[in-house]
């Protein structure tokens, strides 16, 4: 029998960026907040001996233990979904701070276009431009409405950046100036300017200088140590939930984190939620934590899994196209090109997770789509995140994959390649969705989430177009040989792509086509807030976490309002 604990104001399921932001905002406001985290506690001291590519980058030291929980995957409904037995395509977070500890820190805003994509597209190109089967829709909030929340998140992180001439309007400049530049970044800047584009430095959570945020938390200056993406920062220089927001929540005296606490159920009475059930994974004891407000802050996968398991909201049915929970799962695509340099050698082994320069000339509707067979686009960038030697063995095409020639070329080109990369926006499609797997179970006997996903025709067309642009930039930079990324075939769960999964519990203005309103309050349970990229109505062409953070601040405001007035907030 599960033991029932005293009721609290708010319980969050998971303590990453979203759980941490809610805790800081709500505990400071006087609410009793409990954070349930399935993993362990950790802090900056734990990363001092962390410059170990094998352990952290390849054996996934900081990430989800898939022996306990994973998901199943298939490319389409006709296939049998099979478990993702090891991490690959994306690297799910676990332990205090979630994936916010091992992220890169590239902190872009989405663009005004993203939030009103449907209206803007139809207005300019007519109704036929959005093809059948794509659930492209406005988000129920505009960029201008979300701007103050972006501002709060960027202040919490101390983002280092500079004005991007093509982005939405900012109410304040970035809290800290951009990071240092490098020779390869300078080459990109010059080439893109020569081509008539507008380069700017990637907004970064690896800070260019020491900074104190609105909670009085200190974030230090980045050392460009190159063990950043997939690693924790031993300097406390990469903004993460553990240094930026969680200590503020703790200081209030109103916050308690329970580690090794794996939530197994959201308790729903058909009208409201009353709390959550969890298991202490070390003792095996079960508890019920009643709460006035439950916030799902467990990342896209589990946010959606909980809604499906507890039957909250109408499940998406791909046969009829009806229902919303699990619909609009999106990912991203990676157009780009690699330049091989015979004459020049670069310090590519140095760097930082968010060190780079970008252009937005091919983002959203910044270029004319009249004659193009896709909408949207993506950021195009050069980054210098620190190439490590096991994972980086670039060789010109036709080099064998092993043996003498492989050895020679992979050594030679390790410091002689520069990649122009892009993150292509991803649009919801009727056949791409999340539901519960009928066969496979997690360590607690609960069904695994099942992902049905493949790249769409829109993705393939976008990939081709942006890849061409990236290759032109690479050539302009003076590469001896430029190798464009291949055309898209089937999505594979195996190689790493991005941890930019979105959708499944999307926000919107209409309960018939969304799961949560623009405060991330569930349409079918007014005291349930579903916070994270699960709320994205589509995925934009830049990294998601600035928007995730902004939506978490928005949800925090919603919860404060709800605790005062109750009822639906819209």
């Amino acid at each position: 029998m599960a033991k029932t604990l005293p009721k609290v104001d708010v319980v969050t399921v998971g303590v990453g960026w979203t759980g941490g932001i809610l805790a800081a905002e709500l505990a400071k406001d006087g609410m009793k907040v409990v954070g349930l985290e399935r993993g362990k506690e950790r802090s900056t001291e734990d990363y001092l001996h962390g410059h170990d590519e094998l352990r952290y980058a390849l054996r996934y030291e900081l990430m989800q233990d898939t022996s306990k929980e994973t998901l199943t995957f298939r490319n389409n409904r006709k296939q049998r979904a099979l478990p993702m037995r090891q991490l690959g395509s994306f690297l799910l977070g676990e332990n205090l701070g979630g994936a916010g500890v091992h992220w890169n820190g590239q902190t872009y805003r989405f663009f005004p276009y993203d939030f009103e994509i449907k209206s803007m597209t139809e207005k300019k190109y007519g109704k036929g431009k959005i093809k059948d089967g794509y659930f492209v829709q406005d988000w129920g909030i505009t960029y201008d409405e979300l701007e103050p929340y972006y501002d709060q998140f960027e202040k919490a992180c101390g983002i280092s950046g500079e004005e991007n001439p093509m982005a939405g309007k900012r109410s304040n400049p970035y809290p800290t100036p951009p990071m240092k530049s490098t020779r390869s970044l300078d080459k990109f800047t010059k080439a893109t300017k020569d081509l008539g584009y507008k380069p700017y430095r990637i907004p970064s959570a690896n800070l260019s200088e020491p900074y104190k945020n609105q909670y009085g938390m200190q974030i230090n200056a980045c050392q460009y140590c190159a063990f950043c993406e997939r690693f924790g920062c031993e300097y406390g220089a990469k903004s993460d939930p553990v240094i930026s927001v969680i200590p503020a929540a703790k200081e209030s005296g109103n916050y308690e984190i329970r580690y090794h606490s794996n939530v197994t159920e959201i308790i729903y009475d058909g009208n409201k939620v009353t709390g959550v059930k969890y298991v202490d994974v070390q003792s095996g004891e079960e508890f019920i934590q009643p709460a006035e407000v439950v916030a799902l802050t467990s990342y896209v996968m589990n946010n959606v899994k909980f809604l499906l398991m507890s039957n909250i909201g109408k499940k998406y049915d791909p046969k009829t196209g009806k229902g919303v929970v699990g619909r609009s799962y999106c990912y991203q695509i990676l157009p780009g090109a690699t330049g091989f340099y015979e004459e020049e050698q670069f310090n590519t082994f140095m760097g930082a997770g968010a060190l780079g320069t970008s252009i937005n000339d091919f983002y959203g509707d910044n270029f004319d789509h009249s004659d193009l067979d896709f909408i949207h686009g993506g950021v195009v960038s050069i980054t210098q995140t620190g190439k490590r030697p096991i994972a980086n063995n670039p060789t010109p095409p036709d080099t064998p994959r092993w043996g003498k020639e492989f050895k020679n070329n992979s050594i030679k080109y390790y410091t002689r390649t520069l990649t122009i990369g892009s993150q292509g926006a991803s649009l919801p499609y009727k056949e791409n969705f999340l539901d519960l797997d009928p066969t496979y179970k997690d360590a607690y006997g609960l069904p695994l989430l099942r992902m049905t996903y493949n790249f769409t025709q829109q993705d393939k067309n976008l990939q081709k177009y942006i890849t061409k642009k990236a290759a032109e930039i690479s050539e302009k930079m003076g590469a001896s040989k430029t190798v464009p990324n291949p055309e898209l075939t089937d999505y594979s769960i195996v190689p790493y792509q991005t941890t930019h999964n979105t959708g499944g519990a999307i926000m919107g203005a209409d309960p018939n086509s969304s799961v949560v309103n623009n405060y991330l309050q569930h349409w079918n349970a007014e005291n349930l807030f579903v916070v994270g990229a699960s709320a994205f109505a589509h995925n934009g062409g830049v990294n998601p976490t600035d928007t995730v953070g902004a939506l978490a601040y928005r949800a925090a405001e919603g919860i404060k309002k709800y605790r005062k007035n109750g009822g639906s907030l819209v």
Partner: protein, 249 residues
């Protein structure tokens, strides 16, 4: 690359008995190196790449149980990453011991991976679906390499020429060999990946001896900070450093 480093690399090759630019990495030579690693007294032999005459206490088996299997692995790794004018190959870098130790640990036992059934053969896009763990896959894979050498050439794998070994490995890579419970391509990919890991992982894992893997690639290892160098216009050659040396920093 600095002149000095070029020199020491050539020097190294001379000392190790294989002329720079000469034919290295032949199967016979690879098996000779294997014999050195395996059969000579480690106290006197391994010293070139281990940088001293200290005992290498961890040059011993944690996973393998017989020398013959280990030699087949060692010869295969050497074909994947052979000694050449750039520097040492997999064997001198300690890669076979790296793999042995990895197979004995969480990676070889798939500790952090979902290993519950039912098991089905999946699409390539669905990844690892074998009911065997990596240790078991290496066992059956190496057994198959041995059988294939016998059936194709009536010799042991280590006795084959480099070309013959490559032919067999290529057949594995192309999935032309049947193995129950896994595929030859899956085994080959795993061995290829583990070989590269052993070349470049921190030397504490028993590969990348004396950081020679890093030196070849001009990767400086575990440095604390590049803040003073990140803006440099030129390529910066830095003496590598391992995690061991960060212990007291």
């Amino acid at each position: 690359m600095s002149e000095q480093e070029k020199y020491s690399r050539r020097d190294f090759l001379k000392k190790s008995g294989y002329a720079a630019g000469g034919v290295v990495g032949g199967g016979l030579i690879a098996s000779l190196i294997t014999m050195q690693v395996m059969e000579d007294d480690p106290k006197t032999k391994n010293s070139q790449t281990n940088g001293g005459s200290e005992d290498q206490f961890n040059d011993a088996f944690m996973f393998f149980t017989n020398r013959d299997d280990f030699r087949v692995l060692a010869s295969s790794c050497e074909r994947i990453f052979p000694e050449d004018e750039n520097g040492p190959g997999a064997i001198k870098l300690g890669v076979p011991f790296f793999i042995d130790h990895q197979l004995a640990g969480p990676w070889g036992n798939n500790t952090k991976e979902y290993m519950q059934g039912p098991f089905y053969k999946g699409e390539p896009t669905q990844g690892y679906q074998s009911r065997m763990n990596r240790g078991e896959i290496f066992r059956v894979g190496i057994k198959k390499l041995k059988e294939k050498a016998q059936s194709d050439y009536e010799k042991s794998f280590q006795e084959l020429s480099a070309e013959e070994q490559d032919k067999i490995l290529t057949a594995f890579e192309n999935d032309d060999v049947k193995i129950s419970g896994t595929t030859s391509a899956e085994f080959f990919e795993m061995m290829r990946a583990a070989t590269i890991e052993g070349v470049y992982a921190d030397p504490m894992y028993s590969g990348n001896r004396n950081m020679e893997g890093w030196k070849m690639k001009q990767f400086p290892g575990a440095q604390m900070s590049y803040i003073g160098k990140i803006e440099s216009d030129k390529f910066v050659d830095i003496e590598p450093q391992s995690l061991h040396s960060m212990l007291n920093k």
